[in-house]
């Protein structure tokens, strides 16, 4: 299912690489003791260091180092035991130091990989080029005043991980799957909350196009694309633009572009282009960061089971399809919920319920897995009632809705509403006899070959029993009596 753009001159292939800025979960900033909470009053979560007052110096937060290493390990990446913080020099109103402390030649994490779970259940591997730690800038507000921009430094100095992929993606879907998977891994690790709306995960997208078999062509970098949907749109637009440009005899220039979500298009940011020269050099206020293998190993020992391993286990132990397993493990809490439901029960049935009615109810009510519409124990109880023939699958759906509504346990609802399935053969036989007796003409027609009427009898019996008769028993006895 390769993605191609059909142009006038033939088919074009996409080449996509992503740079994701993920805000590290930590109480305080990368190089200062100011808080990192989102949404505080302007310039309150700012230390003298974050405001780059004269003579202020950075001191690194050990937990941010740990988070970087943990994330690197989660991306199955090489951890560099020596890394170096460098200054990236440029001027901007919300960059107080006039440089960003980042890592350049020697990042803390080297090559790794992310395995994409595609909607068709297949997987694809995307290489990770590197992960490095750096400071976030402050925030400029351009819409508060007709002729002024306002600067809030609350974010200034918050730790970010810049995670750079290799140019391994070939379609907007793969790019979306990459972000989804990366976010899932970060959340499992607890190193980033992945909240794109609040900006704690931001994407720069590198896009180029080429004819099959060609080397890479010039790429454009689309900055700060802040939702998976926009990433999808931006890539589609940008790829088409580049194809059109080539086919009109033009050339793509290497540049930074901006995605305009309102117009659904990308446009050149020439203002930012002019004379980019970041003059990276090792920050003389800091020393190289040396880690020991023991330190790395100790963090490794605390890693949780990550989505890929969990998926494999779900396929192996629960015999789920790759597709189902992939969906369940995307979110750790969902996977945990599933496992509570599936424990000692039919996993396929548990999966169907969790991904089906349960998910639907959660979405409908705007609930989350941490605040579920039905507890795992109750959902499990419901499955038990189906399994032991207390209720039929059809009735179970009704019971589930009542569980959502009332919060009561399924057995209680079944008892209160008298929904317990009738499995007493005597009672069923009596019902059947009554139905057959009342429909003598139909019995005749059936016996003379009108097989289709069997369904009519089943329906009548179920109606007579208020839907509570065990359908399998009804079938069996009916067949015998009509036989």
């Amino acid at each position: 299912m390769s993605y191609v753009i059909e142009g006038e001159t033939g088919d074009w292939e996409l080449v996509i690489g992503l740079e994701v800025h993920a805000q590290v979960i930590s109480k305080s900033k990368l190089f200062s003791g100011a808080a990192t909470d989102f949404g505080a009053e302007p310039n309150t979560q700012v230390s003298l260091v974050d405001a780059a007052m004269p003579g202020m110096l950075p001191v690194i937060n050990e937990y941010c180092i740990e988070q970087g290493v943990r994330t690197g390990l989660g991306l199955k990446a090489k951890i560099n035991l020596t890394s170096v913080f460098a200054r990236k020099n440029y001027f901007y109103a919300d960059l107080p130091q006039g440089y960003q402390i980042s890592q350049y030649e020697y990042p803390i994490v080297g090559e790794g990989e992310v395995i994409l779970d595609m909607p068709d259940g297949s997987t694809r591997t995307v290489g990770i080029e590197r992960l490095h730690l750096e400071q976030d800038a402050g925030k400029s507000l351009h819409d508060q005043h007709p002729s002024k921009s306002f600067i809030d430094l609350n974010r200034s100095g918050v730790a970010l991980m810049e995670i750079v992929s290799k140019p391994d993606m070939r379609s907007p879907e793969e790019a979306a799957a990459y972000i989804t998977k990366l976010r899932s891994i970060l959340r499992y690790l607890g190193s980033c909350d992945g909240n794109m709306a609040e900006g704690s995960m931001r994407c720069d997208v590198n896009v180029s196009v080429r004819k099959a078999g060609e080397p890479y062509r010039t790429r454009a970098e689309i900055k700060n694309v802040n939702s998976i949907r926009f990433v999808h749109q931006a890539i589609e637009y940008e790829a088409r633009r580049q194809v059109d440009l080539y086919e009109e005899g033009g050339q793509v220039v290497q540049e930074t572009r901006l995605f305009d979500a309102n117009k659904g298009e990308t446009r050149s940011m020439r203002s930012k282009e002019h004379a980019h020269d970041y003059r990276y050099f090792p920050d003389p206020d800091l020393l190289p960061l040396n880690l020991t293998q023991d330190y790395v190993d100790a963090i490794k020992a605390t890693l949780p089971e990550l989505p890929d391993e969990k998926k494999e286990r779900f396929i192996r132990d629960y015999h789920l399809s790759a597709y189902d397993a992939g969906l369940l493990v995307a979110d750790q809490a969902t996977a945990d919920f599933f496992e509570s439901v599936a424990k000692g029960r039919d996993p396929k049935m548990a999966c169907n319920w969790v991904m089906g009615d349960f998910s639907a109810a959660m979405n409908r009510l705007g609930r989350t897995i941490d605040n579920p519409p039905v507890s795992a124990a109750n959902l499990g109880g419901l499955i038990d009632l189906i399994a032991d023939d207390t209720i039929s699958g059809r009735l179970a759906k009704e019971v589930f809705e009542l569980m959502v509504e009332t919060g009561k346990a399924p057995a209680v609802i079944v008892d209160e509403k008298g929904l317990r399935q009738v499995t007493d053969t005597g009672a069923i036989e009596a019902s059947i006899d009554a139905v057959l007796a009342a429909n003598g003409d139909k019995v005749e027609q059936y016996r003379s070959g009108k097989d289709k009427l069997f369904g009519f009898f089943v329906g009548q019996v179920m109606k007579a029993t208020g839907g509570k008769a065990n359908p399998a028993l009804v079938n069996e006895i009916l067949k015998k009596k009509l036989g």
Binding site: L48, P58, I60, P96, G98, R279, P284, D285
Partner: protein, 490 residues
Amino acid sequence: MSELTKLTMAEAREGLKAKRFTAVELTKAHLAAVGAARGLNAFVTETPDLALERAKLSDAKLAKGEAGPLEGLPIGMKDLFCTEGVRSTACSRILENFVPTYESTVSGKLKDAGAVVLGKTALDEFAMGSSNETSAFGPVTNPWKRKSDPSVKLVPGGSSGGSAAAVSARLVMGATGTDTGGSIRQPASFCGLVGLKPTYGRCSRWGIVAFASSLDQAGPMTRTVRDAAIMLGSMVGYDPKDSTSANVAVPNFEAALTGDIRGMKVGIPKEYRPDGLSAEISKLWADGIGMLKDAGATPVEISLPHTKYALPTYYIVAPAECSSNLARYDGVRYGKRVEGKTLDEMYAKSRAAGFGKEVRRRILIGTYVLSAGYYDAYYIKAQKVRRLIADDFAKAFETVDVILTPTAPSAAFGQGETDDNPITMWLNDIFTIPTSLAGLPGLSVPTGLSADGLPLGLQLIGRPFDEETVLKVAEVMERAAGFTAVPAGI
């Protein structure tokens, strides 16, 4: 001139303890001297009210027997140290009205030790200069005069020229300096003082306006070696707020002044005798070697082969770091702002108006050597040569305990006497820069006078964190030299 201003710190400390005078009297005497010597332009900002308040507190502490090591002693604070509530300018227009809401670690420690700060002393703008002539607030005049022509105003050296002039003119008993390539030692030599640049990492850089982060180091400027040891003790110490601050034990520096250097090996680097070194300086150096021999030490000729490359190395490394360190002066959060139509225009105008010529020059050089395509050829090359220079010292210290060199190639020169070529001015630091690049402790001690009656100093260089040996040897030389000359009018 009050007798009180002629005291050393050590003497004043005893006088206060013995209640021969009070801290308020001592402070008042010095404040009067400050007032009488405004012509020197040694201070950028005077803080007499704060000083008297502090002196009263000192008297109370002395009375209660709770005196700190510097209790009641009047000092000057180089205006590169940020001081809470007191304007801190770095002698730049760009910080002309900057009032920090914080106190640098070193100035805070000195205040905690009981020092009475009389004000902020002048410096070359952002500590970039060797004559104090780059200050945005006018040049500082050296209290020493040429015998041949006392009317010529001499420079005090730089960048800690205001501190040097103030200590030399007996306006304060000691003052802080900072040294990036010689900014404590060269002005000490020009003004007949003891100036000590400690080992890199000995004093916290937190709250000191940064010039070149990998080189900057604070230190004391005093009239005697003992005073330098006393003052140093209240400036040093590990600071968790500075990632390059060394977590090493703080010795009792004063206790190191035993006067006994018998058996010590003193390195005499042959490369510090360049063609054209003046006969006067050569003789000063030879005399110094003689003093050490007489005291039972052994001079050993050593080689520091990369010495001649120290100056070009420094003038890549220091401007590179400064170009980045000074990027924060952009008119957004503090400092001078010149309005512009766009943000970039505001930056360019503010910075052009805020920075003087030498600072602009160094920012441009630093920007260039870090720029794409030139980084390896200049910056990386310099960092490699820097290692060779440091290795030269490390090798020398395998055989010697301390190294003796001249501090500066000449005595103080006249204001405006140097030519327009900036490199001529930079040559002032030719003997001090190698030490800075290697991060070693270096001290200038006055040991003689030029033919024209101006003080000249010799530099002692020690192993990392061995300020004790440097101080010990310096004190022996101080005693042997019997340097008693004072500036005219003292």
